[in-house]
């Protein structure tokens, strides 16, 4: 018989936990959900747009009643649970319904705090918490004219804006001298106040409410200084209190909230709790993103997986008042020893402030232009060292160099504007999908719309749309990104385990790290294959079935299923016999098109897969080997003419290029890897946009790293300058090996250098000579096993099945439509 799971609280946190649980193990439990409200689960953070008339209640429903029925979940609405019997493992509702449980999940949320003022029980005095409150406010707006909102925080301002839009005259009362003091510093709060005043809101600052006046219904609010303001509706938005009455009544340990550990378990091991009712490590969260993180961890434990930990959240906030852009995250008020970077443009109404400690972002406040909010938030959560781009950080991410994709005005774009150029997805399609399908994460938007799922250059724009459309409900990817959905471990955790636990094949990795899927997925398998290969050269046996087809077939698959072939040309040099062999192959196999590549080689297109081994045999005969143009591997070394012919050349750049390619060819990498050598600072080989670039000067060689010419152009950082070719080779090998050992699979050198910081790389490659030599030795050791031409082996018949179609055995009984294919 299935175990029974009861969820008390039909809101966003509890339901998110259920959805995560169903994803992991849909069959484990018989589930009952109790909700005090008469509605199915809806998106509470969208109540403000409903109040403002921008959305309807139907728009914000997340799980319809059909959804519950479809998943076999019993839903009891409008009947709150009033008691938990922890001895009999049973809950009871107000109407007397009882349900037994094996596991109980509390997600009772919070209640608005109603200040116990004289008169606060009068008609027309409400909080702003649920659909009923919104309906009360809308009804009041139809019959009455004047509203007072007590509380100038996020919720109060959203309520005030909504009432104003419904035609009421609204006064916001705030105890302090600055609005949203928990999210904004004073300059930003002043800009916000001015903008809201312009819309018609009135403010009473530093005002202490003394009493609510009226008979049955409120007529006015009285303040401590005697002032009275007429009011037909009073909305109290001064804060929320975790709703712990049920848990307390059952004797579960509570302080401000229900106490939980890092697995979201309460002091009763059968009872878990998530959401606003929870107190974790001393903190109660009132924003939705942390609740989703809690939900994911809790689901993991409810499913008996037992590996996830919730370690608290850093939160960010956006105000959902249309036309006002405001963002805040982290510690936005500088402490002692902190530095602040400020950009202030009163003319355009823009204010941005970053609080910096030890070259890392600790907090951000933005007003007017919040496009880069998600980027700053990412820098903050990941603790990125910003020294390298500190002087431009306030100008935003697109200032780092984005080939035409950094349009910071995404929010102002029309719905018909194309956001994802790869898949042709327009802004309107993305925002529609977010709203109608209830999407919260980048992954979900990718799955439903395909936007940002190919080259990824529009990811920032999609994140901005997501953040803007769902407000703080947007759950940005966790700072430790999981490798894939199969286990939830980060890349670093996996690399560490493979090396330190000496895991030497994929099965062992799956077992040791509790993979959920029987044989991984197309994301983790190629990554693991690479990590194992990089960690155990000569020991790990490459798994062809875990490689993407290009690497399995040693050619690039094209859109029609044919393949392209690029022979290696060391340093871009070539001989007549080699060119003749390439020409012969092109004619013999009827290559429809040839092209000179950007990496100074020749690409043959349109080859049939079954012809590849014969093509390679012919190329091998002329001494040509695989160029690895298809792989996450060392690709080419681009060179300029150099000192031998060029009147400006200072060193033999072609000769050095050949030596570098001889050192590095055949090496598998986390991503593609390109080198270049320029013979003088004119830099004709474009060495400063390569992963490893050498610029020759009269006195030696400048070594540049972390460049990229792709989606997002990045100029290299200067690693150091060396005097001899031998040093160039040693530094190149050491840098390459560090990248191979440390970068995440599919992370190019540019983001890797930014992630770990140039200083850390300099220390280990330049300053620590012993470490450099050790890295170089490890690289050379691994190259012993890597420098085997994959084409030669296959031309001799290895792996023949990969390239040969099946033929029919019993020719006699083959039907007419099927022919043998020998």
């Amino acid at each position: 018989m299935k175990q029974k799971l009861v969820l008390v609280g039909n809101g966003m946190a509890g339901m998110r936990a259920l959805e995560e649980l169903l994803k992991i193990d849909p069959e484990l439990y018989d589930i009952t959900v109790f909700g005090a409200e008469p509605h199915p689960n809806y998106n509470r953070i969208m109540l403000s747009p409903v109040l403002a008339g921008e959305k309807t209640i139907d728009d914000i429903v997340l799980n319809t009643r059909e959804w519950y029925a479809g998943h076999g979940i019993e839903l009891v609405t409008g009947d709150p649970v009033v008691a938990i019997d922890r001895v009999r493992h049973e809950v009871r509702t107000a109407a007397g319904v009882t349900r037994p449980y094996d596991r109980l999940l509390l997600a009772t949320g919070s209640n608005p705090f109603i200040i116990p003022l004289p008169g606060s029980d009068k008609q027309g005095v409400i909080g702003f918490r649920d659909i009923a409150d919104v309906e009360t406010m809308l009804a009041a707006a139809r019959s009455y004219g004047k509203a007072v909102v007590i509380g100038g925080g996020l919720l109060g301002l959203e309520a005030a804006n909504g009432l104003l839009k419904n035609g009421m005259e609204v006064t916001v009362v705030h105890l302090l001298d600055s609005l949203m003091e928990r999210q904004l510093d004073k300059p930003a709060a002043a800009l916000l106040k001015a903008a809201l005043e312009e819309r018609g809101l009135k403010f009473l600052m530093e005002a202490q409410t003394a009493a609510i006046l009226g008979d049955e219904r409120v007529t006015a609010v009285q303040f401590a200084d005697g002032l009275e303001v007429a009011a037909d509706l009073v909305v109290m938005a001064v804060g929320i209190r975790p709703n712990i009455a049920l848990a307390q009544g059952a004797g579960i340990h509570c302080e401000r909230g229900v106490l939980v550990n890092d697995t979201l378990q309460t002091f009763d091991p059968r009872i878990y709790a998530v959401g606003e009712c929870v107190q974790h490590r001393g903190t109660c969260y009132g924003l939705v993103a942390p609740l989703f993180e809690q939900a994911r961890v809790c689901a993991n434990h409810l499913a008996h997986m037992g590996i996830a930990r919730y370690e608290g959240s850093v939160t960010s906030t956006k105000l959902k008042v249309t036309g006002i852009d405001l963002f805040s995250a982290g510690e936005f008020t500088e402490g002692e020893g902190d530095e602040t970077l400020v950009l202030q443009d009163p003319g355009q109404g823009i204010y941005k402030k970053l609080v910096i400690r030890d070259s890392r972002v600790k907090g951000a406040v933005m007003y007017g232009d919040t496009m880069d909010g998600s980027w700053y938030f990412q820098l903050l959560r990941e603790g990125t060292d910003i020294s390298a781009f500190r002087n431009t950080v306030l100008f935003g991410q697109h200032d780092l160099g984005d080939a035409g994709h950094g349009d910071s005005k995404v929010l102002a774009l029309p719905d018909s504007a194309e956001v994802c150029g790869c898949n042709g997805v327009c802004k309107g399609e993305i925002t529609d999908a977010i709203v109608k399908k209830g999407l919260f994460t980048l992954e979900e938007v990718r799955a439903h719309t395909k936007a940002s799922s190919s080259c990824g250059s529009c990811t920032g724009l999609v994140e901005a749309l997501l953040a803007h459309t769902v407000g703080e409900g947007y759950s940005a990817a966790p700072s430790k990104k999981p490798l894939c959905g199969c286990a939830g471990h980060s890349h670093d955790d996996v690399i560490h385990a493979i090396r330190h636990e000496r895991l030497k094949d994929m099965r062992t990795v799956f077992e040791f790290l509790n993979w959920k899927t029987p044989d991984g997925c197309p994301v983790c398998r190629p990554a693991l294959n690479y990590y194992l290969l990089a960690a155990w050269p000569g020991e790990y046996v490459d798994d062809a079935q875990s490689r993407y087809i290009n690497e399995r077939a040693h050619g690039n698959i094209q859109k029609d299923g044919s393949y392209s072939v690029v022979p290696r040309m060391f340093g871009g040099l070539c001989k007549p016999a080699e060119l003749r062999a390439i020409a012969d192959v092109a004619e013999k196999f009827r290559v429809p098109e040839m092209k000179v590549t950007g990496g100074q080689r020749i690409d043959l297109f349109g080859l049939k897969k079954e012809d590849l081994p014969a093509v390679w045999a012919d190329l091998n005969a002329a001494g040509l080997i695989s160029g690895h143009a298809y792989g996450k591997a060392m690709r080419t070394v681009k060179t300029c003419v150099g000192a031998q012919w060029c009147r400006f050349g200072t060193q033999d750049s072609t000769g050095l290029g050949v030596k570098l390619e001889e050192l590095t060819w055949g090496s598998w990498m986390p991503h593609k890897y390109k080198l270049a050598v320029s013979g003088c600072p004119r830099n004709c080989a474009e060495a400063t946009i390569k992963d490893f670039g050498v610029v020759c000067v009269d006195s030696g060689y400048e070594l540049h790293v972390g460049g990229n010419g792709g989606i997002k152009v990045r100029i290299t950082d200067l690693l150091c300058k060396v005097a001899t070719e031998e040093e160039v080779l040693e530094y190149c090998g050491a840098f390459t090996q560090l990248y191979r050992e440390e970068a995440h699979y599919l992370e190019r050198t540019a983001p890797w250098v930014e992630r770990v910081g140039l200083n850390s790389i300099r220390q280990r490659v330049v300053e620590d000579a012993e470490n450099r030599k050790a890295l170089y030795e490890r690289f050379r050791y691994s190259q012993q096993y890597a420098q085997v031409d994959p084409w030669a082996a296959r031309a001799r018949g290895a792996d023949a099945r990969e390239f040969t179609p099946l033929s029919l055995k019993a020719a006699g009984c083959a039907p007419a439509a099927v022919t043998t294919n020998a």
């Binding site: 899927t517 190629p526 399995r552 099946l806 029919l808």
Partner: protein, 109 residues
């Protein structure tokens, strides 16, 4: 009526991999899972015609090499929010030999 035709020995198809069976009207992808289950689908992704036989096989699913659509091997249906279906063929494994069922309608579909 189905005609069972021998197409390969099981060990000629790589585990977690596929082989292509070429007919004069179309290619058929023959997949083998980690647990030695064998499935056959038309070698065309319902999205943009990518060769499914060249994809990565994981569990009972293959991921198309062109745009990462995930196709269920047993039903041929695209998974997740994607919609589409690759034509499937009946296969059986008997004594280490893989047989494919053709009938006139299917072979020309």
């Amino acid at each position: 009526m189905d005609i069972w035709t021998e197409i390969a020995r099981l060990d000629e198809i790589p585990r977690l991999g596929a082989r292509v069976l070429r007919t004069d009207t179309q290619d058929i992808a023959i997949f083998r899972t980690a647990t030695d289950q064998v499935f056959a689908l038309r070698d065309r992704c319902p999205h943009k015609g990518g060769p499914l036989s060249q994809g990565i096989v994981h569990g009972g699913t293959v991921t198309c090499p062109l745009h990462n659509w995930k196709i269920d091997l047993a039903s041929g249906e695209a998974q997740g929010p994607d919609e589409g279906c690759a034509h499937r063929y009946a296969v059986k494994v008997d004594n280490g030999v893989v047989y494919l069922a053709f009938n006139a309608g299917e072979a020309e579909a």
